[in-house]
């Protein structure tokens, strides 16, 4: 697989470490009411779609950027990749 790094172009996926669903960007507020239920969902439940999936990859053997990659889980086709930092600053993975 090749990951289209937004700064470095296509790179061997072997340089990356996979984490999973980009919803992990949306960490609940641990000090809020009902935090435990929110965290149980955040930590454990996944949409796990057969199709377009937004997911986190870490360019561990590269520039150490976390990326949000949009990929089809049925074909492995990659539809785009962004710096996770930018996605988060724009308001998260929703």
């Amino acid at each position: 697989m090749l990951i289209p790094h937004p700064l470095l172009g296509p790179r061997d996926a072997q340089e990356f470490t996979y984490l999973g669903d980009a919803a992990l960007l949306n960490r609940p507020d641990g000090m809020a009411e009902g935090a435990e239920a929110a965290f149980a969902e955040y930590v454990y439940l996944r949409d796990n779609p057969a199709g377009v999936h937004r997911e986190l990859w870490f360019h561990e053997q590269g520039d150490r950027s976390w990326l949000v990659v949009t990929r089809d889980t049925t074909t492995h086709e990659i539809l785009g990749a962004e710096l996770a930092r930018d996605v988060k600053l724009k308001g998260g993975a929703a």
Binding site: A13, Y44, N48, H76
Partner: protein, 416 residues
Amino acid sequence: MHFSGLRVIREALTGHKGWKPLWRNPEPQPAYDYIIVGGGGHGLATAYYLAKTFGRARIAVLEKSWLGSGNIGRNTTIIRSNYLLPGNEPFYEFSMKLWEGLEQEFNFNAMVSQRGILNLCHTDAQRDAFRRRGNAMLLAGADAELLDREQVRAMAPFLNFDNARFPIKGGLLQRRAGTARHDGVAWGYARGADMRGVDLIQNCEVTGFRIDGGRISGVETTRGYIAAGKVGVAVAGSSSRVMAMAGMRLPIESHVLQAFVSEGLKPTIPGVITFGAGHFYVSQSDKGGLVFGGDIDGYNSYAQRGNLPVIEDVAEGGMALMPMIGRARLLRVWGGIMDMSMDGSPIIDRTPVEGLYLNAGWCYGGFKATPASGYAFAHLLATGRPHETAGAYRLDRFARGYVIDEKGVGAQPNLH
């Protein structure tokens, strides 16, 4: 039709005219008491035990493709009960006991072969962990032996003892573990269920659940609506998709695991050997192929195929462990979809929808669990109560903090 050596001889002498279909191809009835969604190993075993052990009738198994086309049709055939945690070990040992005698019970040779599994260890800390695990196995009534380096060498002299990056220090051996002919298991259960009146309906995909007032009333399928008293879902690889139709999100991600077989070879290795430090495990099939695998590819996938780096990684592990396999050739690589759960352990439980039950999250270890999974799921469906060995496999264990995390890696499915 009862299978026996005599029968084989008689048919051989009379041109095999007497063999009957292994199962019928029934048309779906309008309603059943029990519908099992998924005609893979776990679904077929569930139907079998529901009919045989729990004496239930009016049972159908709905399979979107051919019987046994799930992960039971593509795995590395290992059976074992070498678990650590009390939530797991008694269950897998129950499964092991069901394997022993399974073939005589369902009169079908699934080639259950207790040739042993040897987990190698390479550090003192690993040996400590193996001692803890081996003892946990013995406490649950399973068998286990802790071997030192020389005992391992006597069993498997072909391993790399002299020039290894991770020297072999010993191993944990379970002699009763081994392999079984995966398709044969599916067929044995299917035939046994069919003989007891279960309708095995192939090419029948469930496309929706009909839920009235929080209670299941039936399933929509590609072959029409079928009413049901209770519905049990056992669709490894598709669990999230199927349960989404009932409005549920699961603590599961779907990942691809590749498995490998070499060209046929004369007997080369005795039982199952696992090399944790190198992410490699191997056995040899009765046909002579080395059957081996390693880690999952590590990314969400429904594509049923993997990529080259894992193939290389697994081969590297194999060559590091047993360099004498180098001149053997890889014949085939295939990929299956794994329900990787958030703690690496399965779910056998009721759901918030009354009458709808879930059997899922087997990660890449569902094959060895097939008998116990079917038995426990049938128990749950028939009695409404979890089987005594499967009581920890609850859906709410994640939110409540009772996870069963054998590897201790937390809520990251690709590490389990």
